[in-house]
């Protein structure tokens, strides 16, 4: 019951934070002048009427002598009302306006189309990264202060210090330019589960997972060494368990308490991906869409993606907190 209340409270807080941030974003965006770019072959009338229909402007008048369109802006809070109404009643997040590629396309559909590459790349990276990272961390902790540990520790500090931007460059130069093992950028198309597509994703996956391998390994090593030196390990050995049994049943389990929430939150964070890696390897993912929406000032896209990124960040935080409670019996029981 306590956990239920706790979770509810945390969720409420997250929802509140999210709403405040989104309202802030909306207001700040709507304070900007409305960008109306009439491209060749487009009818200005349609664009203005569209904006009027969406409740962003009113009293649209075309002055045929000056050839200028004039309009009044609607109060921002009223606009927000229309916006929320469309989202909740029609599930309509707006349509693309200024990005040539996505003009007049529903924002939500484009977003869903862009999500798979981002999620796939980050999922692959997690799938590769977690076992290797944990394995190295465990090895280093078990062989503490032996040469294996020294090698792994030096590797960890080197990998952690190489920023993803440089890691991406190195991988791109060595594996893509020099050795030509992989194509330079990700293939286009929607067949995500074919071998050539997978191969073209690999450089990005490697650039992402090398850093996280180091992170996992460092964390696991620190946690496990602490657990291994605690007294219940001594007791386990005195009871007659072999070193392997004791490590597996007692040390690892206890070390997993802080490690597992970290992996979980990483798994949520993979959704948001890495903007740098995505732009370096030209991955047609959410990050690219977000950067484009900033460059071309497409506000509907910007709102949706801002909401997405904010939500992912908030969820990662709350999942870490809650999973701590579920995993660790000490925390769960202690609350009563």
């Amino acid at each position: 019951m306590y956990m239920f209340k706790y979770v509810l409270k945390r969720l409420g807080l997250v929802l509140f934070t999210f709403c405040v941030i989104m309202v802030m974003c909306f207001v700040l965006i709507k304070l900007l002048p409305i960008v109306v770019t009439v491209q060749i072959g487009q009818d200005a009338n349609i664009i203005y009427r569209q904006l009027e229909a969406r409740g962003y402007i009113c009293n649209v008048v075309y002055n045929s002598t000056t050839k200028l369109w004039t309009y009044d802006t609607v109060p921002i809070m009223t606009q927000l009302g229309y916006y929320l109404q469309r989202i909740f009643v029609n599930g309509d997040f707006g349509i693309g306006v200024s990005m040539a590629e996505y003009r007049n396309q529903p924002v939500w559909d484009v977003f869903m189309e862009k999500l798979p590459p981002t999620v796939l790349i980050n999922t692959y990276s997690t799938i590769i990264g977690v076992p290797i990272g944990l394995g190295l961390g465990i090895l280093a902790a078990l062989k503490k202060n032996k040469w294996q540990d020294q090698v792994i520790s030096v590797g960890i500090i080197l990998l952690i210090s190489v920023p993803s931007i440089v890691m991406g460059l190195i991988i791109q130069y060595i594996f893509c330019f020099r050795l030509r093992w992989f194509p330079l950028t990700m293939m286009s198309g929607f067949d995500y589960f074919t071998w050539p597509m997978f191969r073209s994703m690999l450089p990005a996956v490697f650039s992402l997972c090398l850093g996280s391998i180091a992170g996992y390994a460092r964390f696991t090593r620190a946690e496990l060494t602490e657990v291994l030196t605690s007294e219940f390990m001594l007791l386990a050995r005195t009871k007659g368990l072999t070193r392997g049994q004791a490590t597996l049943r007692h040390a690892l389990r206890n070390a997993m308490v802080p490690i597992f929430p970290m992996i979980l939150s990483e798994f949520v964070l993979v959704l948001s991906g890495s903007l740098v890696i995505e732009s370096m390897f030209s991955i047609p993912g959410v990050g690219r869409l977000y950067l484009d929406s900033i460059t071309y000032q497409d506000y509907d896209f910007f709102m949706l993606l801002s909401g997405f990124y904010t939500l992912v960040g908030l969820l990662a935080g709350i999942i870490t907190d809650i999973s701590y409670g579920f995993i660790d019996p000490r925390i769960r029981m202690g609350a009563r």
Partner: protein, 519 residues
Amino acid sequence: MENTYANIPKEKFEFASGRDMVHDKRLETKPRSYMQDAFARFCKNKGSVVGAIIIIVLVLFAIIVPFFTPYQVSYYDTYYTSTLPKNNLFASTSFWDGCEAREDGLATFTYYYAMGQETGHNAVKNQEYEINDEGMYVYRLDSYHKTGMIYINFTLEQYQNVQSYQDETGRQVIYPTVNYSDRPQATQDQQNANYYYKTEGKFSTKIVYDEDGNVIPVYSKRLASAEATDRYTSSMRIEGADGFVGDDGETYYYNYAVITSSGVQCRVNYYEYFTYYHSYVLKDGIGEPLFMLGTTGTGQDILTCLASGARFSFLFAIGVAVVNLFFGAIYGSIEGYYGGKIDLTMERIADILAAIPTMIVITLLKLHMGSASQVLVLFLAYFMTGWIGMAHTTRMQFYRYKNQEYVLAARTLGAKNRRIIWKHIFPNALGTLVTSCALVIPSMIFSEANLSYLGIINLSTGNITSVGTLISAGQKSLSTAPFIALFPSLFLVLLMLSFNLFGNGLRDAFNPSLRGAED
């Protein structure tokens, strides 16, 4: 049991020492202050010391180098783009000599080989080459000389200026021109000043040799008796002061300029022209072209850009960190000291601000302050998200100390809130705050590099550049000139590595509970 000590006569007792007073023994060891202790612990960790030394070197690099490089960040050279790094000390080796190993066919090779034959500025390093089994020419191409000749339009004044430079220094800048009709006819070749020799046919660039195997120059010439049309008065003539005798027995002079509507068009050696232009016209301290770390794809000196970028990054990061520290400390102090409803409200505000992704903050700021300086946008964005961590640290320290007895004592003695906050509690938090302040610096530089790379922030205006801008410039020419990205990347990696090592040591050093743990 019998008590043996019950009745000891009084006279059996005597003082332990001869004196009446017993003093504490004087401490024989030297007292160690907290800072000394921390310093000793820090020095024990070899990795951190190395990290600290690297940081100092990087900071010195950023401070000193911009004063000693003659180039400016805003200087772009149109011909020396993607020029390879060169250092005169290594000029005779095949490393760091500004040359690249090439393997070319006859046509490309002879094009470069002929350049050196005319001027002595060897595009093929030392005019040394080998022919491999496949008949390809293997040689080292000097990226400082491979531009060779260019056509330049001078005004008459500039033209005379070059001539007086030639007379003063004895360095030949202007070489005889080649008539339009004698150059190869393809458009790109006609504007290329490097064809001074006879080629096979109008559209071929293949060299024709004479019986001795030399190229046949096709310079524009005039009879010695004819009036000089190019107003060439310098004594620097490749044919000698007295002209040369042609096949028909007449004495000829070469033409060194073609008169145009606004002055003259000359054929100049770009290496020499660069030297002349910088040492004689601009007098900006640049002599012969020499780029220690090469140039970018747009012709900027990488060493200058990197040092200036690093200096900007350091200054910027320290500036932001100090402002964050200041604001965060005040905010956290108020939160932590007063607690209750004030704390709750202020914490919620901080929570909400912390939950907004930095990227969104920067974007919104940039959209709203479109015309303002990008540096200001970045500064505000880092400030808006950065102070929260500082406030949090301060708040924790306040919660830890505010109910301790000494604070209670101070309050009882009548100390005001402000005095308790600043004099009694805040100094406890200062150590942790300064440490976290130092550790924020590399992450800020890293994040700035990311933002510049993504093109969200563009800092390369005027005389400012940043490491991130350099990296993104390097990535564009990664296939042709990988060294452009190498040096900024190396700088960033070294910075992160040293700060990671340094930070580990600093954390341990300021943690008194670790005292003696390593021994």
